[in-house]
């Protein structure tokens, strides 16, 4: 799951080329690796890829700051479904 998400971000959403490879613990939105629209596209990708619905109040730093956070969020969400 980590690689799928990292690959999607690297192939589609990164604003400027990164000096190093994207890491699971990198801050995506806060550090500007992806912009606001990119984050919305990432959320749409996650909804489609993992068949879940991200509620508006779940679009918070705890769930979407890093790829690690996203994977944890998806795992928890899938357990609840």
């Amino acid at each position: 799951m980590i690689n799928t998400i990292i690959n999607y971000i690297a192939d589609n959403l990164i604003n400027e080329p990164l000096d190093d490879d994207l890491e699971p613990e990198d801050d995506l939105l806060g550090s500007g690796i992806v912009d606001s629209m990119g984050m919305m596209r990432l959320i749409a990708f996650i909804e489609n890829e993992y068949d879940l619905k991200v509620a508006p109040d779940e679009m918070v730093i705890e769930n979407f700051m890093t790829v690690e956070n996203i994977v944890e969020y998806i795992t928890t969400k899938n357990k609840q479904q």
Partner: protein, 378 residues
Amino acid sequence: MNFSFSKKQVDFKNQVIAFAQDNLNSNVIAEDYKSLFSKKKWKKCADFGIQSLASYKNEQLDVLTATLAMEGLGYGCKDNGLPFALNAQMWTVQLPIIHFGNEEQKDLFLTPLVKGNQIACHALTEPEAGSDVFSMKTTAQKTEGGYILNGTKQYITLGPEADVALVFAVTNPKLGKWGLSAFLVEKGTKGFTQSSSKQKMGMRTVPFGDLVFNECFVSEKNRLGKEGAGWAIVNHSLELDRCFVFASQLGAMERQLEESINYVKKREQFGKSIGSFQSVSNRIAEMKLRLETSRLLLYKVAWLKNEGKSALLESSLLKLHLSESFVSSSIDAIRNHGGYGYVSENEVERDLRDAVGGIIYAGTSDIQKNIISKILGL
């Protein structure tokens, strides 16, 4: 994708059209000329149930019904400003309160908005944060029991008249876009001032001005959502807002086309109706094409949102195409009417002045093209 609407949906749209034609079309020329906002018409809309389309008692928003209703409002109401202002409150203030507010906030803030007893504005844009809106400078510093707000919000729709403002501010600059929070600030709060309404090219019946926060204390109870939820609050209603605002403009385009057709059929020059001249009839055909292509984009966005799906690309295509189409068709409408269309009292030229704002607010046409091309991988 299915664009066949139910009888109930179509009936409701027709009821909205009849309501608007019967109640909202008096005094429009004078209100536009003097830039007057009508609280009386605002209240009439609430009594009819327009603001209730975004009500917490109706949490499962029926996007298709609401789209048709707002289209009907734009068709029936000759003042393009009133539907625009209603959309601004309903989808960028009421809807966020429904999704992010606690029960106390819903009771305190939503009820008077839905009943039309209060007016609310969405305060995001700043002097140095327009298209780059998340680079905002307004701050909300944590203090005992609440926050101290400092900063200026600029060009805020309904700002001068608002009883409550949904204000976005930086609570933690170290977190970038995750460090933004939203606050419901009530009129009369110490340190909160609202400018008078600014004169503008079109949409003149809509109050529009600046909000200034100077050491303004806002209670923690007035924070909407968690600290840091500002980014989510801005983004979650963006696609829906575009859908409904431009539904009303689609209605206006349909009204405009019908008026043009009626005029060119009746107006005679050189012994025949001007509609029989190919240069005029071709313009009518182009207006119809713009209307129907805009309608398809609108209904696609409405359908996607009703299905709970993302419409990032589609809402940008809609916003770009419909807003530019309304400007082009408004110029064509003036050409069709000739000198008659240029004179304000005949209510043709007003559409052009109103349409121009659409290519600027909620993301300029340039920004929409950037979004579209970026999604396409460029």
